[in-house]
């Protein structure tokens, strides 16, 4: 690792992500294969009580990767996980944040970062984790 291991409690810079349009949700559905109509059909979304189609949780989870890379380009993601707890709707801006919650030292340093994504609600839309390890030097 070419930089000091981050301390527990260190916060990632907050990052704005989205908002996403219906065309962007359709593009993500096309490439990911997740064509669940709930993400694409505003009529179906309305039937389950949503004002607009929800953004794919996996699209939001993907947004953490550039945030983590920019924060610590010397580390790579070994594990990435997320629980999608609240919907973020089409057109809704999202804020991504993270905080280091565990660090192990030595040459095999591992940095565990708690991840959170917030839409308009104060409650998180995603609660996740990323386990980061040093990149192998070639």
């Amino acid at each position: 690792m070419n930089r000091a291991v981050p301390e527990v409690g260190t916060r990632l810079p907050e990052r704005a992500f989205g908002p996403f349009t219906s065309a962007e949700l359709a593009a993500y559905a096309d490439i990911s294969g997740d064509t669940n109509p709930l993400h694409l059909d505003s009529g179906l979304a309305a039937k389950v009580g949503l004002a607009a189609p929800p953004v794919h949780g996996m699209l939001l989870l993907a947004g953490f990767e550039p945030a983590l890379q920019e924060w610590r380009p010397d580390l790579r993601i070994e594990r990435l996980s997320g629980r999608f707890t609240l919907p973020v709707l089409e057109g809704e801006p999202v804020t991504l944040s993270g905080r280091v919650v565990r660090v192990s030292g030595g040459d095999t340093a591992q940095v565990l970062v708690r991840l959170m994504a917030h839409g308009a609600s104060r409650a998180p839309a995603i609660v996740g984790e990323a386990l980061l390890v040093p990149r192998e030097v070639s």
Partner: protein, 125 residues
Amino acid sequence: MSEVRLGPFLVRTERAKIEAYRRATRTGGQEIPAAFPICWLGEPAIRAAVEKACGNRLPLHEGQTFDYARPLEIGAEYHLSLSLSEEADPPRLALRGDCKTAAGEPCLRMETLLRLVAPAVELSA
């Protein structure tokens, strides 16, 4: 709980698809995004198996994990074995994937949790 084992399926990390994924997710970089393997679940054979397990219920993505033993390489082929487990209360489908290199070396475990909600036919009525 019932469990169905599927595969292994041949999956790939084509450069063009990875670039399209990066555009759609607004992610950059030169490596394969950690969440890219979610696209493999959209492969026709895998998707058909998941749709069959869901029946007429609408799947809502509740959770996802990617756990790497080694980074994936661009332009490579991998073998993805899946197990599908259904839980009754609440109705939920768990997909667990075990991905290995062509040489049989473990590289990724992934887990997808889908909450199964009211019959889609009712929602569409």
